[in-house]
């Protein structure tokens, strides 16, 4: 039953990835001929033709596409025009950097959002509820690149507490993670609070109350458990969105992740790398989606596939 479900999802995922790659292949080709970018400004027409021939760009588009598909079948993902090495290596090297950042940011967001959301829901309308709601929403409503640059100017330049950018020590993680957390945290607090309030008003919690259970135990033990389902749904969707944030964060903080790589390769028309990064990201997102569906089963015994 379960295996069949995973199999079906995987089959759908593969269809989607193939569709995505086809789309991206033709879209990127439409962005123009890269030869002008790779050759110096004053190079001759012959030099440009030679470049196109060297990189197989002189073939008709459909020939290039079938060539690409054929290479894919033998796990050849093409060579990076910029870096002169295998495009998939370039993508796989950058991916873990983004993954680490995303996992830390998402874990912290979920844990903090549950804590803050639950406390806010415990006393709806209280001062804490109001402030927590406003602050988390404000965080989610600010342009992330703006917060990032202001953060650097304040904490690294003004106060000298943190390094401006880059990777290395644990201190380097603080600002990128914080910026990346703003949006998921802000939205998750809302979700947790909303579902918790509903849960706390439900009859069985009232029964627990009547039985004289401790309030803290009721909130964190029973009500929370029931509100995890929507949290998982929203968190899953936010994980995809996290990569958007990662593009900006990686650009500003000089984090060598896949978002930055993607931007650079699109600007530089490094087609093979664009395709490889998309392949890697898409597969990762499908895995996340399937994992979330399985988590559902774990959390809610009523759901069966």
């Amino acid at each position: 039953m379960m295996l069949g479900y995973i199999g079906r999802r995987a089959y759908h995922s593969i269809l989607s990835v193939i569709g995505l790659l086809t789309l991206v292949f033709f879209l990127t080709r439409l962005t123009g001929d890269p030869s002008a970018l790779y050759l110096p400004l004053d190079s001759s027409v012959e030099a440009r033709e030679a470049f196109a021939r060297l990189n197989g760009l002189d073939q008709p588009l459909y020939v290039q596409f079938f060539q690409y598909l054929r290479d894919l079948l033998s796990f050849d993902f093409g060579e990076s025009l910029r870096q002169h090495r295998s495009a998939i290596d370039v993508a796989l090297e950058a991916f873990p950097q983004t993954l680490k950042l995303a996992v830390v940011a998402m874990t912290l967001s979920i844990l903090l959002a549950i804590l803050v959301g639950a406390l806010a829901a415990a006393r709806p309308g209280s001062l804490f509820d109001r402030i927590a709601g406003l602050v988390s929403l404000a965080g989610a409503s600010t342009p992330d690149f703006w917060i990032a640059i202001v953060g650097i100017l304040v904490f690294a330049v003004g106060l000298g507490l943190l390094p401006t950018s880059g990777t290395g020590s644990i201190l380097h993680w603080i600002m990128p993670v914080f910026v990346l957390m703003l949006r998921p945290f802000g939205l998750l607090v809302q979700v947790v609070r909303g579902t918790m309030i509903s849960a706390l008003a439900s009859p069985y919690i009232k029964t627990a109350h009547a039985k004289g259970m401790k309030r803290r135990k009721i909130i964190f033990g029973h009500a929370l458990r029931n509100s995890l389902l929507p949290v998982v749904t929203v968190a899953g969707d936010l994980t995809t969105g996290l990569i958007n944030g990662a593009v900006v964060v990686e650009t500003i903080f000089g984090w060598p992740g896949i978002g930055k790589l993607m931007i650079d390769s699109i600007i530089q028309r490094d087609f093979a790398v664009v395709q490889s990064t998309i392949l890697v990201t898409a597969i990762a997102i499908f895995i996340v989606n399937i994992a979330i569906d399985l988590l559902y089963v774990g959390l809610d015994p009523r759901i069966r596939y």
Partner: protein
């Protein structure tokens, strides 16, 4: 997302009820007033200060804020070309909000319709629609936007199209989920047995009930779209000069955060306040619509008497 039914607009009693709820929640009231003010700017801004917003003043580049020596329009300072920031904020509101509104409306209508079809029908195109949503979902929207904008060029129309496409899956999925639930209900079966056509059932019976949920999502999405647009500007792919949005203003001013903070600060604040207001209003709307939470506003009214 809970199934919510907003009070119908047709009955004045409910409208008044709504106004009373609004006046009970001070934060939501302020948010509503702020959005109303913005609407005024959108409608009248370009007429009133359109000319001043484009007027060069290279001798007063980066004029600091809080001085009215140059006229009240300069109270928030001047930008890198000496143009009054206040005037530009007012004029910029139009493009910013038009882009966001158009994108959200398009994705709600197209995504909602596709979702209705996918939910009601079990034919092949239902599957195609779902895979389409998967493809778009499985890919970070910012990066999709990058590729498409590089292909088509960053004009206002293209920007709207791209933003609309990237936000579509959420509407497709939500609409489909709503339909899946609604179509099993009694009144739908009744209509079907009375010989109503599928189109009629979808449009007359199901769509009106699915709409409120979609509208709530649209309000949150509106905020997301404004932020995405500003991130695109940061990456150099947003709207291009001489046109401008708040996002573009923040992006242009980011190089001056250390020396002339006001250039990026005010438009950033405008984005924050707008998205915050939208978020506050939509969470207020959820409270109003949720019978389990509405008591808070009602009991407030009682204690106020």
């Amino acid at each position: 997302m809970t199934d919510l039914t907003l009070p119908s607009r047709k009955s004045p009693g409910n409208l008044r009820q709504l106004a009373i709820y609004l006046s009970r929640d001070k934060l939501a009231l302020v948010a509503a007033l702020f959005l109303a003010l913005l609407l005024l700017c959108v409608l009248l801004g370009p007429l009133l200060v359109g000319e001043q917003a484009a007027k060069l003043g290279l001798r007063q580049r980066n004029l600091p804020p809080f001085s009215v020596q140059q006229g009240w329009l300069y109270v928030l300072g001047a930008d890198t070309l000496g143009r009054p920031i206040l005037a530009r904020l007012i004029v910029g509101a139009q493009k910013t909000l038009t882009i966001a509104a158009a994108a959200v409306l398009c994705s709600m209508i197209v995504g909602g319709t596709l979702g209705l079809i996918a939910g009601y029908s079990e034919r092949w195109y239902s599957h195609v629609i779902q895979r389409l949503a998967d493809v778009i979902m499985s890919f970070p929207s910012l990066l999709l936007a990058l590729i498409v904008l590089y292909t088509l060029g960053p004009s206002m129309l293209n920007l709207i199209i791209v933003l609309a496409i990237t936000r579509m899956p959420i509407f497709i999925r939500t609409a489909r989920a709503e339909v899946l639930e609604l179509r099993e209900r009694m009144f739908v079966s009744a209509a079907r047995s009375m010989g109503a056509s599928s189109t009629r059932i979808l449009l007359r019976h199901i769509a009106p009930l699915a709409l409120p949920t979609l509208v709530t999502i649209a309000a949150i999405d509106f905020a997301t779209v404004i932020l995405t647009e500003s991130a695109l500007s940061f990456l150099g792919l947003g709207i291009q000069p001489p046109d401008f949005t708040w996002g573009a203003m923040v992006a242009n001013g980011r190089g001056y955060l250390a020396t002339a903070w006001w250039i990026a600060f005010w438009p950033g604040l405008a984005i924050l306040l707008t998205t915050l207001s939208l978020n506050i209003l939509s969470s207020w709307a959820r409270t109003v619509a949720d019978p389990q939470q509405r008591w808070r506003l009602q009991s407030l009214r009682k204690t106020a008497r």
